[in-house]
């Protein structure tokens, strides 16, 4: 059984911080289909379009019928662990400092034998569930879990290496003035974060929910204005080495398309808060996060971007807003590549209209800020990279996958 993690001690200031190393991240183009599935927490393997064989490792021709039709599809993830080994010597520097390391051969009920990482609570001969996860290199790997959840299973070292579990990690929520920021702080505090720093801009301005926020356990309010480079830099100077997970909750929601908007004042504000705010926070906190990717139990783990699903397809009623969100998404993709050397995940959490005042006139379904908070915690615990929260976000994603042009017309009508 997994030993529960104990709260990490304060760091010995005389000890050198371990440089983040990565397992090998090179993959064939076809194998990146696994990465796509892992990013969203799906278990997908190639399934032959002609003979239905389940294929692994990823191939470009079906080994049973030579078909070239090998789409990645959801597959039953159950199987049996046939044999295991504990690796004690590795040629790879990443694994060398994490020895011993268990792997095993799992015979999937669906067909193929898969060499997988092993959760500590799984034993040879037992039934198992396989999951696709992103390792520190950002690429997909398979891990075999016990068939049923075990106590403290999230604390298993090999598992925690793949997740961004907030437990005993220190979190910065960048904007606590909003309902979303407050829900996020509460969810992360409840998820066992050691401390949740919550940024508040213009501290001279009271805000709704302030009193409740101040009373939350393990929540500390810090001055942080995402529109102010100096403020962001000062905050980073003080807190960056103590931030393991950063959740950017900045939002700026205003109606209006491109022509509808009179002038650029609001558009500038949107860009200042969202796009430039993201850049400021990334420039100030990114280098420290990236350097601390292997810094023990509370290593730097994730940069979470809350981003509207309309980043993917413009909603002309909120057209200028959508454009800003698209800019944020693009920046996040770049950030992902830039933080990868530290093994730090950039998690994009997509959502539709919220149950907040800025979506007042939008009919339901709308997403409660608390649901968004729970989804972020879940995404961190699962080590996901792309998350779609709520019916609207799922719907937009599904329609986009089928026919982007149709979606464009539908959103614009």
């Amino acid at each position: 059984m997994t030993e529960p993690l104990s709260r990490p001690k304060r760091k010995d200031p005389l000890k050198k911080t371990r440089i983040p190393l990565l397992p090998q991240g090179t993959r064939s183009r076809t194998a990146l289909g696994l990465t796509a599935a892992a990013a969203e927490g799906r278990f997908q393997l190639q399934v032959c379009g002609d003979c239905a064989a389940v294929v692994y490792p990823p191939r470009d021709a079906c080994p049973r019928c030579l078909s070239a039709s090998l789409p990645f599809c959801d597959v039953d993830n159950r199987g049996t662990l046939l044999a295991e080994t504990t690796i004690r010597t590795s040629t790879d520097v990443y694994f060398r400092e994490r020895m011993p390391w268990r792997i095993g051969t799992v015979l999937l009920d669906a067909g193929p034998a898969i060499v997988a990482h092993l959760h500590g609570d799984l034993r040879e001969g037992e039934r198992t569930r396989l999951e696709l996860k992103l390792d520190k290199s950002g690429q997909a790997i398979v891990i075999a879990l016990p068939a049923r959840d075990t106590p403290n299973m999230a604390d298993d070292p090999q598992w925690r290496e793949l997740t961004c579990d907030p437990k005993y990690r220190r979190v910065l929520v960048t904007d606590g003035r909003t309902a979303v920021g407050q829900a996020m702080a509460e969810a992360l505090s409840q998820a066992g974060a050691s401390i949740v720093f919550v940024g508040v801009a213009d501290p001279w301005k009271p805000f709704p929910g302030e009193e409740r926020l101040r009373k939350l356990e393990r929540v500390e309010i810090v001055v942080l204005d995402l529109t102010d480079t100096i403020s962001v830099n000062e905050c980073a100077g003080e807190f960056a080495p103590r931030v393991d997970i950063l959740v950017n909750t900045a939002e700026h929601v205003r109606t209006g398309g491109i022509v509808e908007r009179k002038g650029l004042t609001v558009a500038r504000e949107e860009l200042e808060v969202r796009y430039l705010g993201l850049m400021r926070i990334a420039q100030a906190f990114g280098p420290v996060l990236r350097a601390r990717g292997a810094d023990g139990i509370n290593s730097a783990a994730a940069f979470v971007n809350l981003v509207s699903v309309f980043a993917l397809a413009s909603w002309p009623a909120y057209g200028a807003f959508s454009a800003t969100e698209a800019a944020c998404l693009s920046a996040a993709q770049s950030l992902r590549a830039e933080l990868r050397p530290g093994g730090v995940k950039v998690v994009n959490v997509f959502f539709g209209p919220l149950e907040t005042e800025w979506y007042q006139a939008v009919p339901p379904p709308k997403l409660a800020p608390s649901a968004l908070g729970r989804a972020v915690v879940q995404a961190l615990r699962q080590g996901l990279e792309d998350v779609f929260v709520g019916d609207i976000a799922e719907d937009i994603r599904a329609r986009l996958a089928v026919n982007p042009k149709a979606l464009e017309r539908e959103l614009g009508s």
Partner: protein, 396 residues
């Protein structure tokens, strides 16, 4: 399919012989290139046969570390002008495969004399670099899983075999200890100290149940032999062994979830039928010994005992060169070292030596028929290539 007693439909290797068994003494690490090692081996062959390099009209190369070159680049590098050229990047199976292709070439007259060479260097970091890019499946589905290399992959195979057939570490230890005994007589072996079973059992774990002495030591080295017709060998004054039969198989039994048998099991009937001998006629065996579990599988799959009887078979034989089942008489890769693709030549070259009376170390008394097998290329979770060759001494 041919059963064990059915006549082979394949054309026999009448008159094809193998000679000039060359081993360039191995080194743990080398600052020289693979080209250098291959060059030493070709030169040794040429000197032994009294040839000029322009007399070589067939050339076959096996190497992992000769990149970006292949066999063609080596012709210019070494000043050869062959009319028949082959590149056999098949690792542990490359010896048998190179031999059977060369045999048909000389038999058909496409070449008169083929020099088959395997050579690899081992620079300080070359093994690690080779592992991570060994194959697409290794890159996609093996190396990211702990990067334990072949030790981890064969640990899973070994673990499964032990559970399935009751093999113990003592059984594997016996194979390793016997090979070390053989190696103590072989001048080129890198391992020069006696190994006891206690030392074997007490060695540090590498990837459970694989322990230190289950693993070969990567090193630099080269091996070579010549394939020609009997009359050519005689005119050159080269002692040579006759080629009786060969088999080759790749990706056998793909539906076995974990490898517990190799391609030999598919082709063993044909092997003996073509040679018109039985396992009882074989005087010694050189199995491919990247890990002792693979030796045990070959004892089964090559017909010396039934499937699953490997552990008992090992328990009932000494496995030393002077014993009841002479096995890996030079010490095998486990004691001599694994010089990359040359590891796939080691057993075959030793077989030729034993059959031509040129043994450098322990000699198998009255050896008339020898078997050398090859195995290799762990592409994903198992060795894909297997091969075997039966050879006989000149007077047989």
């Amino acid at each position: 399919m041919a059963g064990p007693r059915k006549a082979s439909p394949r054309m026999p290797y009448d008159g094809v012989v193998v000679g000039a068994p060359v081993s360039i003494p191995y080194r743990r690490y080398s600052t020289n290139t693979a080209h250098w090692w291959v060059g030493r081996a070709v030169r040794e062959v040429v000197q032994r046969a009294g040839l000029r390099s322009s007399d070589i009209d067939g050339f076959s190369l096996s190497s992992f570390t000769v990149g970006p070159d292949t066999a063609i680049g080596l012709t210019q590098h070494l000043g050869l002008s062959p009319r028949w050229l082959d590149h056999v990047p098949l690792g542990g199976a490359s010896g048998v495969v190179a031999l059977r292709r060369a045999a048909r070439a000389v038999q058909c007259g496409d070449a008169e004399l083929v020099v088959c060479v395997a050579g690899d260097t081992n620079q300080v970091d070359s093994f690690r670099r080779m592992l991570s890019t060994f194959s697409r499946f290794a890159q996609d589905a093996v190396y990211p899983y702990g990067s334990g290399g072949p030790n981890a992959s064969f640990a899973l195979i070994t673990r499964n075999y032990m559970m399935r057939y009751g093999a113990t570490r003592e059984d594997f230890g016996k194979i390793c200890v016997a090979q070390r005994d053989n190696a103590l007589h072989f001048p080129h072996a890198l391992m020069k100290k006696k190994l006891t079973l206690d030392e074997y059992l007490g060695a540090r774990p590498i990837s459970d149940p694989i322990h230190l002495f289950d693993c070969v030591m990567p090193c630099a080295g080269a091996e070579a032999f010549v394939v020609c017709k009997e009359d050519v060998a005689r005119s050159l004054g080269l002692p040579a062994a006759r080629l009786l039969a060969t088999v080759e198989r790749h990706n056998a039994f793909p539906d076995d979830p974990i490898q517990y048998r190799g391609g030999w099991a598919m082709d063993i009937g044909e092997l003996y039928a073509m040679a018109a001998v039985t396992p009882d006629d074989v005087d010694f065996v050189q199995t491919y010994d990247d890990y002792p579990v693979i030796c045990m599988m070959q004892m089964e799959d090559l017909g010396f005992c039934g499937k699953g009887e490997g552990p008992d078979f090992v328990r009932s034989h000494t496995l030393t060169a002077d014993g009841s089942f002479p096995h890996n008489t030079s010490g095998g890769q486990l004691s001599v070292g694994q010089a990359g693709a040359a590891g796939g030549f080691l057993g075959l070259v030793e077989t030729v030596r034993q059959l031509t009376g040129e043994a450098l170390g322990a000699t198998v008394p009255d050896a008339k028929v020898g078997l050398a097998s090859g195995f290799g290329m762990i592409n994903y979770d198992r060795g894909l290539a297997s091969g075997a060759a039966l050879l006989a001494g000149g007077q047989a």
